[in-house]
């Protein structure tokens, strides 16, 4: 990966962040209503509203608000949440780690299951196994997260059986078992689509690799089938799979929004919805930018992994 490539990528990310921040600011100011109104709710008499707007600095011109915000960000200060009156960095920071924990559990779980599953399907290509795994994964990709989540809740969090908690969060430092227990359903929900997608991708890549000339050559060298798959076929099908996984991070980060909302997981997704509903501009900004950065970084990491897996890949 050349330096120029890296710098270009970095530049693109920064440009995107700038555009996103301006866009979010513009969008939120064009929208009807503001944080003051949302805070006061039924207490929003004109007098109270004006007082609250003054308190929150919303009576300033938009440009001033934006420049003020940008100035803060450049100093590492993301401002104060309008609705929660806490430093944005603090709120978002906590939510970020909770989200990342959930995403990581989902991603690791998925990878561990999906890659062998896809491999198995590719090896059993054309059999009933392949068809079965294929159909399951098709169904998996056709279920939106909120449907999966709801169905999982009906089955596993039924108040009579209560196999798993229906939602909520336990800090891992307090009770790790509880943390995992609470994470199972949300991460399973997140994982289902990914699993379907990744296993399908691994299957198709691997089937293609298995018919390649070099796999044929390996077999005709008398390399045992196990090694052919492990050493010759899989590494070549993993690079494209990683590319897909990196794109799936996008789904994952989007899925988090829904899943966290349903399972009451205190992460970025829920924070974002809350902030959107309450016009909490600094929080919307921070969450959006953070998600975009995470997406960009994971994509970059994926590129590095791909370059590692496939010596041919040299980003220029």
């Amino acid at each position: 990966m050349s330096l120029a490539y890296f710098l270009r990528r970095l530049g693109a990310v920064l440009a995107v962040l700038c555009i996103v921040s301006v866009a979010v600011f513009a969008i939120t100011t064009i929208l009807p209503g503001n944080a003051a109104l949302m805070i006061l709710g039924e207490n929003a008499s004109a007098e109270n509203l004006a007082a609250m707007e003054r308190q929150l600095g919303l009576d300033q011109p938009v440009l001033v608000q934006y420049l003020h915000w940008v100035g803060g960000v450049l100093h590492g200060d993301f401002g104060t949440s309008l609705r929660l009156q806490l430093p944005v960095a603090q709120i978002v920071g906590e939510a970020f780690w909770n989200s990342m924990a959930l995403a990581a559990i989902a991603l690791v779980g998925v990878t561990v299951i999906a890659i062998p599953l896809g491999t198995f399907a590719a090896l059993k290509r054309g059999t009933i196994w392949d068809l079965g795994i294929g159909l399951i994964s098709y169904v998996g990709t056709a279920l939106p997260e909120f449907v999966t989540a709801t169905l999982l809740l009906v089955f596993f969090a039924d108040p009579v059986r209560q196999l798993l908690p229906a939602g909520g969060f336990v800090a891992p430092a307090e009770d790790f078992g509880g943390f995992i227990k609470h994470a199972i359903l949300p991460s399973a929900t997140l994982g289902l689509i990914l699993m379907a997608h990744i296993s399908r991708q691994v299957r198709s890549e691997l089937s293609e690799v298995l018919t390649s000339d070099y796999v044929r050559a390996a077999r005709l060298k008398g390399v045992p089938e196990g090694r052919v798959i492990r050493r010759h076929a899989l590494p070549n099908s993993l690079a494209p799979a990683v590319a897909v996984i990196s794109l799936d991070i996008g789904y994952l980060l989007g899925g988090i929004i829904v899943v966290e909302e349903i399972f009451a997981w205190p992460g970025l997704g829920r924070l974002l919805i809350y902030a959107l509903q309450n016009r909490d501009l600094p929080v919307i900004q921070a969450v959006t930018l953070l998600l975009a950065v995470v997406y960009a970084i994971t994509n970059l990491i994926a590129d590095l992994i791909i370059a590692k897996l496939d010596p041919r890949v040299r980003y220029a």
């Binding site: 006061l40 008499s45 109270n48 929660l84 009156q85 908690p165 909302e261 309450n278």
Partner: protein
């Protein structure tokens, strides 16, 4: 001291008479046990602890635990002594004197004095500070400290219900130090005189409060700590409650009430309340300026059906008055039967023989607004009202429709008095005059009622005002919604006042034996 006799002596002239109030223990005979942590689940975020302006359903129990007011509304819907042990008014109810409790300290150990009361009320009345209680205290002209434990309120107009107003959930006493400092600190910190102290404030998950050892009620609170746990997903909240992970469900949804109350080890409570959904019709505009159209629409609403279907029976039909039967001086309202034929006839009489096409706006939060709209659409169809429903996100609703639109669904909590109820919405200078229904006679009656001390006279006056309201039907009020809450049987003395802003958690104890 008062110079006249009153049946409601304790309102105008309060005494710290009964420490048993408001706790009307259901675990008769059992002696409260100290200790334990009470876990209360709720589904809306505790976004702020700013006692002056907050309005969230889960924020009220927090400030009820953290702060005390001069007076406090009990389960009987009457003001009771809190930081004021007694009070009295002059003859025409323009001057009130509150005697404060001795030896009370704030959580940080500083003593509570009359000066804090003065500072708090000055803040509430300051138009530069957003405060929710200002609307019920507008008549207060001056608050002064007579001595360290005596405060005198001077009013610009007679107001017999002042002790109700001082019990307003947002009129809790904050220390002068806090009010002189950075007001935004009130959002995330609390230095009150209430039974519990703030330990951690994590608006995303949990607010944890711990026992205030120096609370003025001896031996109370019984609990060591209270955790307010956030479950934005109702299904998750219910499941956690039923599994015993939480002790109290602050609010139970109608849909789940039956199931929860049927569950073993659970005590579900249904508290009759004056919370209502209403249909707002702007009366300076066609067609709602015609009382016949409003009346016709009233007859086109099948209230029994709405109570059954939307409230799951957990409420009572209302007949177009915003005055709940719980309130003092409330009159019995005549039943308005569902009568689409009569409605159609009346509509025809008003000049709409072919019916009327209208667009009813509802916000999407809480869901009951849209649900009511949909149900009304169903029942009103037969009466010739072709109702189209426009549901919109709450933020858009607040910004564009609320107080502006001509036909939308409103949703209001219960107020402590008729005066507060009418002054909130219906008088010409009401805080949230959203109907443009302005009636001088009605205004005069409300003003007269407010300054009248004699209860019989007041009853008479308020009866007239309510009759006027019914005659004119400024709002369609289809039902009153019960307040629903649930606790595990091991949680003793969990109560919610009908007004649903007072909780008396200092009386709660855990019977885990």
């Amino acid at each position: 001291m008062s110079h006249f006799t009153l049946s409601r002596r304790h309102v105008l002239m309060g005494l710290a008479a009964s420490t048993a109030l408001p706790g009307m223990s259901f675990a008769q005979g059992a002696t409260p046990v100290s200790g334990g942590t009470l876990k209360i689940s709720h589904s809306t975020r505790i976004a702020t602890l700013n006692v002056l302006s907050l309005s969230g359903p889960a924020e009220y129990p927090c400030i009820d635990m953290l702060y005390s007011g001069l007076t406090r509304t009990g389960l009987d819907n009457q003001p009771h002594p809190d930081l004021a042990t007694e009070w009295s008014a002059n003859d025409d109810a323009t001057e009130f004197t509150f005697i404060l409790r001795e030896g009370v300290t704030f959580h940080d150990g500083t003593p509570f004095t009359a000066d804090d009361v003065v500072a708090t009320y000055e803040a509430i009345l300051n138009p530069d500070i957003p405060s929710a209680a200002r609307s019920v205290l507008k008549m207060v002209e001056k608050v002064e400290a007579v001595d360290d434990l005596t405060v005198k309120f001077t009013l610009s107009a007679p107001f017999a219900d002042l002790p109700y107003s001082t019990a307003h959930a947002n009129a809790r006493i904050v220390s002068r130090a806090a009010l002189d400092g950075d007001l935004t600190k009130l959002d995330t910190t609390a230095n009150g005189t209430g039974p519990f102290k703030l330990e951690t404030y994590d608006s995303a998950r949990m607010v944890r409060l711990v026992k205030n050892e120096n609370y003025y009620k001896p031996g109370q609170p019984y609990l060591d700590a209270v955790e307010m746990m956030l479950f934005p997903d109702l299904a998750a909240e219910t499941a956690n409650f039923l599994s015993g992970a939480t002790d109290v469900m602050l609010t139970v949804q109608q849909a789940d009430f039956q199931r929860i109350s049927d569950s073993a080890g659970v005590d579900a409570q249904q508290v009759g309340s004056g919370r209502y959904v209403c249909v707002v019709m702007r009366q300076d505009q066609e067609p709602w300026n015609d009382v016949r159209v409003r009346k016709a629409f009233g007859m086109a609403v099948d209230r029994e059906l709405l109570v059954d279907v939307i409230l799951e029976g957990l409420g009572r039909p209302a007949y177009d008055s915003i005055v709940a039967p719980e309130l003092e001086y409330a009159t019995d309202k005549p039943v308005i039967p569902y009568d689409p034929e009569a409605a159609r006839a009346l509509l025809a009489e008003a000049g709409y023989p072919d019916g009327l096409k209208v667009t009813l706006v509802a916000s999407d939060r809480p869901a009951i607004r849209a649900q009511t709209a949909i149900a009304i659409q169903q029942t009103a169809g037969a009466a010739g009202f072709d109702v189209e429903i426009k549901t919109m996100p709450h933020d858009t609703y607040l910004a564009e429709e609320w107080m502006k639109g001509d036909f939308y669904i409103g949703y209001w909590g219960m107020q402590p008095t008729i005066d507060a109820t009418y002054n909130l919405l219906l008088t010409s200078d009401a805080s949230y005059q959203d109907t443009e229904w302005k009636n001088a006679e009605f205004d005069a009656l409300v003003a007269e009622g407010r300054s009248t001390v004699d209860p019989e006279k007041r009853a008479e006056i308020y009866a007239k005002a309510q009759a006027l309201e019914l005659d004119e039907s400024p709002y369609i009020v289809p039902f009153y919604e019960d307040v629903l809450t649930a606790s595990r049987e091991t949680t003793v003395d969990w109560h919610i006042a009908p007004i649903s802003r007072f909780f008396f958690i200092e009386d709660v104890w855990m019977n885990k034996a």
